[in-house]
């Protein structure tokens, strides 16, 4: 199959959007964990 740049761009953009969103969830979760540790002190 010949690689179509538009096809590649569409699939890449889809996964970039999902990965960025997942990264924000992970970063918010680790910030909350730190906050919980501070609250426990």
């Amino acid at each position: 199959m010949t690689t179509n740049p538009y096809l590649l761009a569409a699939y890449a953009v889809t996964w970039v959007i999902h990965i960025v969103y997942l990264a924000t969830i992970v970063s918010r979760y680790s910030r909350l964990k730190r906050e919980i540790d501070e609250l426990k002190k």
Partner: protein, 240 residues
């Protein structure tokens, strides 16, 4: 529950990889004769749109439930579904123009389907802004009312290509369009994979939201407990 989640993540990862292989390989979905390989964008664009619509409908149901029962769980479900739905709707709004450029020769046209999808996205983005930046105690109530209004836009977006003359292709199912059974199989497989993925993302986001609210509650309790001691310290000063 903690054991089930990693298993589901692995299974969804396998399903997503297989669905992507089927979407990209001519052994899975046949190459469309007119558009060629660029048509394969459809296997990501359409399932993302369907997943976003389902999430907006869950948001609608949860918002109605919140308006009736004032349930914090319903409020959290509504927020989570709106957020993940916006992510999927963003994918739709970006992959659509990427497909349109080689096929129509333009990135965007103010056609009824495209414009109504953009309006739908803007409604749910404003919902998220309201949730993020309003500090009023009435925010969940206002957001639920906005979500109910926003959900009315979903059927309009879906049926816009039935009622208006648009440039957008006809619906795959239930409309005037027809599709090769192998293409339909790959489309449904991708939809299943994206639905599982959306479910897991919603689950993680729900847990995060629940934890956030518990932390906020703990902060509020702590400041309430600190207040009397501070007041106790203030009293002699004011008496002086």
């Amino acid at each position: 529950m903690k054991r089930v989640f990693p298993i589901l993540v692995i299974l969804t990862g396998i399903l997503l990889s297989y669905a992507m292989y089927m979407a990209l390989s001519p052994n899975g979905a046949p190459t469309e004769q007119t558009m060629g390989n660029v048509q394969r964008i459809f296997y990501y664009h359409v399932p993302s749109a369907w997943t976003a619509f389902i999430l907006f409908f869950i948001n609608f149901g949860a918002s109605i439930y919140y308006l009736i029962k004032r349930s914090p769980t319903a409020d959290m479900v509504a927020l989570v579904c709106a957020e993940v739905g916006v992510v999927f709707c963003t994918v739709v709004l970006i992959t659509g123009p990427i497909w349109a450029r080689p096929v129509w020769g333009i990135w965007w046209t103010w056609d009824m389907r495209l414009t109504s999808t953009l309006v739908l996205w803007l409604i749910y983005v404003s919902y998220l802004f309201l949730r993020r930046f309003s500090s009023s105690g009435q925010t969940p109530l206002l957001a639920a009312a906005l979500a109910v209004m926003g959900a009315l836009c979903v059927p309009f977006v879906y049926f816009s290509i039935w009622f208006f003359r648009t440039q957008h292709p006809q619906p795959v199912m239930g409309g005037g369009g027809s599709i090769d059974p192998r293409m339909l199989h790959v489309l449904l497989l991708n939809w299943l994979a994206f639905s599982c993925f959306a479910f897991l993302v919603c689950w993680s986001r729900y847990r995060l939201e629940k934890l956030q609210r518990q932390v906020d509650e703990a902060h509020a309790m702590r400041s309430l407990m600190d207040e009397p001691s501070q007041r106790g310290m203030d009293t002699p000063r004011s008496a002086r």
